[in-house]
């Protein structure tokens, strides 16, 4: 079996290992509902967690091979006809992301089963979650440009399912739709950008495009490519001014938030920028736009986070801020900055996922999610409290946690950067505010006096505490042994993004450097912010109120304007009454036909009416009689009956002129139509009174003229010279190619089966729509 086309080089890896890694989640996902039903939510989740765990172990095992050289490549046939392959690549950058996706993924899957509890809910949730995980793996392992895009869009779709999981809540639906529309808008821009990139670089492989950098920069397309790609990255990673969808997406169940909005989905934009840095980066334009985009988001996110009191919203806004920091570092693009991005990426994924999971556990055990109303939980939930404390310390950048090490290298990278003073100043303020967020979300619920909560708090079950504990402990372990973080994650990341691995590993103690001073300053300001948080919060509320007039408002206005136009247009064209819509359709299409006939010169074939057989005369006469009767019918029921008779007469016309397939189908359709009409008429009392004689006259004239026009069209079509090569081909191929003597049916089920598939899908959707209209109306 060979799929490779000439000119499409196929490089196969030793095995199908990367393909298996990408597809495993898609295979496992449909099993989730069944597993959760038969084993229960918690055990189902635990079993399913083995899938990402196995993938994580596999990736770790092949990691060293991937880090040596340019990585592991695999090329699989996909849409060979278009020269599109499923090209995969595992290098240092992909490895970091893939390890985070699968590692944190396994903890989240385990957690989600127990968190949701109900087997039906958990099964559905894990179905979406595993499909999302697989899509995300596809994004980071993609080498083919189209492969990247397809998986990128799949993450948008699967995250839409996850955010809108509580689909009976209007708030969830709105948040899900908003996230989908924002990221899909970016996706369209990204597709255009990637295609331009492929055209400019002469390859559809990301790995080959890195070598075509100079051709891309001099192609004249560079600016357009950069803007389009940035749109894709900024929407996905919630960069200003698209940041608003992320906090709204907190409508998702907490495990989804922990996964999507801390370590995966929103990091896809960061991944994209990192992946394309060698190709598009290190130009003045790139540095300026990406750095300022990131810096703006970094500060804005921190400022908007500070006044929040809901646990998840606190974390959501702080995620926006952290994403901004990562984008800013990639914009600066120096080796030190890339090292900092790698270190902070890992640190952030660990502490943010832990804090989200803790927030979920607290909500689960107490029923309260407002930090103002929480306190003193440490005695009731000691394990969760310890995990939260570790994560919060890492987020606050306190030694000896990984967050501290990461913040040190961030400051070191920022110090020599252009515009360093401004960047440093903003960074210190933003980091101090993030310290406040860390305190509010990870410390405050657990200290002080125990507060009254809707549920009596108790320790979370094991499945809910394993995740936060392991993630918190990982932050501690990697912080104490930063060289390990270097060799596991950061070195490969830097080698992929910046070209060469850093000379020295991350270290815990850098001596009394300016960075250490800045760290200390951050902690001091942060602690001051904690002390003054009530005042800050009041100030922040005003700011948050002002932010309502921000980009989200513009976005909403855009969509409501679009909907208004659609509604106005529908009202105009389809109207509130079927009659008006039909009249408009008849008038418009009739006018088109008439103008076409006049332009082409009306040529009618000679018709010998007189010598037509009696049967045809009789048929024609009956049809005319039927139409007159329909027009004159006193009641709607009579009109429908007459229409049925007319339809049957048309069937006879088909039968007479040798179109038996059409005749049989038409006959059954006519019968069912009459039945449907009769059923509908039950709902329309006194319908006959609705049409006055003048209305009938108008409708009758319109119908008659339309009929005449269509007859003329049908007659003149016969005199046109047509290209009948398709007809001849189908007739000739029917038996040898389609194994059938009935050409009509062979076309329907073989030659044009795709059309038929589309048609029956439409039929199915229409039936479901009719059912919804009939059955799901609000009562009363």
């Amino acid at each position: 079996m060979s799929f490779s086309k000439a000119g499409h080089e196929v490089r196969r890896g030793p095995l199908l290992i990367l393909l298996i890694v990408v597809l495993a989640g898609f295979v496992a996902a449909p099993l989730a509902p069944w597993l959760c039903r038969s084993l229960g939510a918690t055990r189902g989740g635990a079993l399913l967690a083995l899938v990402p765990l196995t993938l994580c172990a596999t990736l770790a095992a092949i990691g060293p091979e991937a880090l040596a050289g340019r990585g592991i490549f695999e090329a699989h046939p996909w849409v060979s006809g278009l020269g599109v392959g499923l090209d995969l690549r595992l290098d240092g950058l992909a490895l970091v992301f893939a390890l985070l996706i699968t590692g944190i993924g396994s903890l989240v899957v385990l957690y989600a089963g127990a968190y949701l509890g109900d087997p039906g809910q958990a099964g559905r949730f894990l179905l979406f979650l595993l499909a999302f995980m697989a899509s995300m793996l596809g994004v980071v392992l993609a080498d083919g440009v189209i492969t990247l895009f397809v998986f990128w869009e799949l993450t948008s779709v699967t995250s839409w399912l996850l955010i809108g999981f509580d689909h009976e809540k209007a708030e969830s639906r709105r948040a899900a739709l908003q996230a989908l529309l924002v990221t899909a808008l970016g996706g369209v821009a990204l597709l255009a950008g990637l295609l331009l990139l492929g055209a400019a670089g002469g390859s559809m492989r990301l790995s080959e495009l890195e070598g075509a950098r100079s051709a891309i920069l001099s192609s004249g397309l560079y600016e357009a490519i950069l803007v389009l790609v940035l749109l894709g990255a900024a929407t996905k990673s919630a960069q200003f001014p698209f940041h608003f969808w992320l906090p709204n997406a907190m409508a998702a169940p907490t495990p989804a938030s922990a996964y999507l909005h801390s370590s995966t989905m929103v990091k896809a934009g960061v991944y994209l920028l990192a992946r394309l840095s060698p190709t598009l980066g290190a130009t003045e334009l790139f540095t300026l736009t990406v750095t300022s985009l990131g810096a703006a988001t970094f500060v804005l996110g921190a400022v908007l986070a500070a006044p929040q009191t809901k646990l998840k919203r606190l974390l959501a806004y702080s995620t926006v801020s952290s994403l901004g920091l990562l984008v800013m570092l990639l914009g600066v693009g120096t080796q030190a900055a890339v090292v900092a991005a790698g270190a902070y990426l890992v640190a952030h994924a660990l502490f943010k996922a832990a804090l989200f999971l803790v927030a979920g556990a607290v909500d689960h055990e107490t029923g309260e999610r407002d930090v103002e109303k929480l306190g003193g939980l440490r005695s009731a939930m000691p394990i969760t409290a310890a995990a939260a404390g570790l994560a919060a310390l890492s987020m606050a950048g306190i030694p000896p946690l990984l967050g501290f090490v990461a913040k040190e290298v961030v400051y070191e990278a920022a110090l020599p950067a252009p515009g360093g003073v401004l960047v440093i100043g903003l960074s210190v303020v933003a980091n101090a505010l993030l310290l406040l967020v860390a305190f509010e979300s990870g410390v405050r619920p657990f200290v002080g006096a125990l507060r009254e909560t809707p549920r009596k708090p108790h320790e979370a079950p094991a499945a809910l505490s394993v995740g936060p504990v392991l993630l918190g402990a990982a932050g501690l372990a990697l912080g104490m042994a930063p060289a390990l973080a270097s060799s596991l994650f950061v070195d490969g990341f830097v080698a992929s993004v910046h070209g060469e691995a850093p000379g020295k590993p991350l270290s815990f103690w850098h001596g009394f450097t300016p960075a250490l001073g800045l760290s200390a300053l951050t902690v001091v300001i942060g602690l001051a912010a904690v002390a003054l948080r009530a005042t800050l919060r009041r100030a922040g509320r005003n700011l948050a109120a002002a932010a309502r007039f921000g980009p989200e408002r513009a976005w909403d206005a855009l969509w409501s304007a679009l909907l208004s136009i659609a509604r106005a247009q529908t009202d105009l064209l389809q109207g509130r009454r079927l009659r008006h819509g039909l009249a408009l359709t008849a008038l418009a299409s009739g006018a088109f036909v008439v103008s076409g006939l006049l332009a082409g010169g009306l040529r009618l074939p000679p018709i010998d009416v007189v010598s037509a057989p009696l049967a045809e005369w009789a048929l024609g006469g009956l049809l005319v009689l039927g139409c007159v009767a329909a027009l004159l019918a006193r009641t709607a029921l009579a009109a429908v009956a007459v229409l049925g008779i007319i339809g049957t007469l048309v069937t006879l016309v088909f039968a007479r002129f040798s179109a038996p397939d059409l005749a049989v189908t038409q006959f059954v359709i006519e019968t069912l139509t009459v039945i449907l009409f009769v059923l509908v008429l039950f709902h329309l009392p006194n319908y006959a009174r609705l049409s006055r004689p003048s209305t009938r006259l108008r409708d009758g004239l319109l119908a008659t003229s339309f009929g005449v026009v269509m007859t003329l069209l049908a007659l003149s079509v016969g005199s046109l010279r047509r290209d009948d090569s398709i007809t001849r081909f189908l007739a000739a191929e029917s038996v040898p190619g389609g194994h059938g003597r009935n050409v009509v049916n062979v076309i329907l089920v073989d030659f044009r089966a795709l059309d038929t598939l589309g048609e029956i899908t439409v039929l199915g959707v229409a039936a479901v729509g009719a059912f919804a209209l009939l059955k799901l109306r609000p009562r009363g």
């Binding site: 189908t665 509908v680 190619g737 194994h739 089920v749 038929t756 029956i760 039929l763 059912f771 009939l774």
Partner: protein, 129 residues
């Protein structure tokens, strides 16, 4: 008001309709017929019962929720399109073994979908009254 004549005729005609619908489905590849019209005729059998008796009786006769039939039919049609992929041929290529081929399976999918669509709508309408 229920008519005894209609009810008796329905009992007689129902099996005939169903057999005829299968006949239409199977002969469709060579002679006039096919899954679409076959599905319509099969649906008519149940519509007839719904009119002569009531919808509940027709639903019992059908045994399966018509909406499910839509899904099953679409799944069958789609699955038939993937057979060729398993053989290394492009999507939707007809695969034949004697007189039986994937286009026939596809047509059966169309048949089931059409039954589901018609009955979903007709039952829905009739139950509204």
């Amino acid at each position: 008001m229920k008519s005894l004549v209609l009810q008796t005729t329905t009992r007689l005609f129902e099996p005939l309709f169903l057999v005829f619908s299968l006949f239409l489905l199977l002969r469709g590849h060579h002679e006039p017929g096919g899954g679409f019209v076959g599905g319509l005729v099969a649906a008519s059998a149940f519509v007839l019962r719904a009119l002569a008796f009531d919808v509940a009786s027709a639903r019992r006769q059908l045994r399966i929720d018509p909406q499910r039939l839509i899904g099953i039919g679409l799944a069958v049609a789609l699955a038939s399109a993937f057979v060729s992929v398993g053989e290394g041929l492009p999507f939707m290529t007809g695969v034949w073994s004697g007189n039986v081929g994937t286009p026939l399976v596809f047509d059966a999918g169309v048949y089931v979908t059409v039954v589901g669509v018609v009955l979903t709508i007709v039952f829905g309408m009739a139950e509204e009254t």
